[in-house]
Amino acid sequence: VKRLADGLGERRDRDVAIEALTGFNEQMPAPDRKGVSSLIATLRSEQERANEELAPLVDPARLAALSESIEALVAEVRGLE
């Protein structure tokens, strides 16, 4: 769960940064936008690489296995009660 949360968190952080930079850039005069746009482009290409690394973590079979193991853990604890 921690690995999944870390992976998704990192991905989300970059999404948030891209969104914030885009919003900032829209407020700037057109001649000043180029630098921030290039930074956004860099972040987007990082995002694509990060997506590839994230893909195995959100694989449906893996998520189903995780869900099953948590359910089994809960059932085991309930059995002890």
Partner: protein
């Protein structure tokens, strides 16, 4: 920063009691960062405090109902604190990235300008004025200024927010609510232990009484058996008496 170990957790204890111990540990953790984090330049302490606020918030989201309204207020304030410190953290992360990006563009431009200069003995400034990314610098500089100024503003908000929580006693009221819950749990446990002891004592007394009654019955049975062995003595046997009753001194065997 690693979460502090929560001591005295007990699977046999109630949810509220265990949650109380976790909340106290997380609250202590949060408050412990305050003196350092309130120093403008202490970025690491501010980051650690954000994580501590997050941990407190999440444990209160799950178990806050055990501690009433103070927990609900503290959960909301922990979320607000997490948001402010999170935005400060975003600035702290983004600012070096902006500078790094600017540096990368300038390094690339320097290489390009140098290439254009060819084998001339010195560099013509007009070549630098045509650097490919020159129009990108300004936006990134403006962004860096924005991030620095925003961080300053957020820090001021953070300090004011923290002072406000101390004034209104948000954390103190949570601590008191948890302490009261833990005290009630301790008292309930003590009462349960005393009740259990009383039950055991009552059972022991009952058992002792039953054993005494059994012993008395056995003694009575033995006496009866002994009396029956004496010819003619049974008529005069009185219940509860070890000796045959002296009914008629003229009767043989008496």
């Amino acid at each position: 920063v690693k979460a502090r170990l929560v001591k005295k957790l007990d699977p046999a204890a109630s949810l509220g009691e265990n949650a109380g111990r976790i909340v106290k540990a997380r609250l202590d953790e949060l408050v412990s960062f305050a003196p350092t984090a309130l120093d403008r330049g202490e970025i690491t302490a501010q980051h650690d405090m954000r994580i501590a606020a997050k941990r407190l918030r999440y444990v209160l989201e799950v178990t806050g109902f055990c501690f009433g309204r103070p927990a609900d207020t503290a959960r909301r304030r922990a979320r607000d604190l997490q948001d402010i410190l999170g935005e400060m953290h975003d600035c702290d992360v983004m600012l070096p990235r902006v500078r790094e990006h600017l540096e990368a563009l300038q390094a690339e431009d320097a290489r390009a300008v140098r290439e254009r200069a060819g084998s001339t003995p010195d560099l013509d400034p007009r070549l630098a004025a045509q650097a490919p990314h020159r129009t990108a610098y300004r936006g990134l500089d403006v962004l860096a200024v924005y991030l620095r100024a925003r961080r300053e503003l957020l820090f001021d908000r953070f300090v004011a927010f923290w002072e406000r929580q101390e004034e209104t006693g948000t954390w103190l009221r949570l601590e008191r609510a948890v302490d009261a819950h833990l005290k009630r749990a301790r008292e309930a446990r003590r009462a349960a232990r005393q009740a259990e002891k009383a039950r055991v004592r009552a059972e022991e007394a009952e058992r002792a009484s039953a054993e005494a009654a059994a012993r008395a019955a056995e003694a009575e049975a033995q006496r009866r058996r002994a009396a029956e062995r004496l010819p003619g003595a049974t008529e005069g046997v009185q219940p509860g008496s070890a000796e045959p009753a002296a009914t008629d001194p003229d009767q043989p065997g008496t």
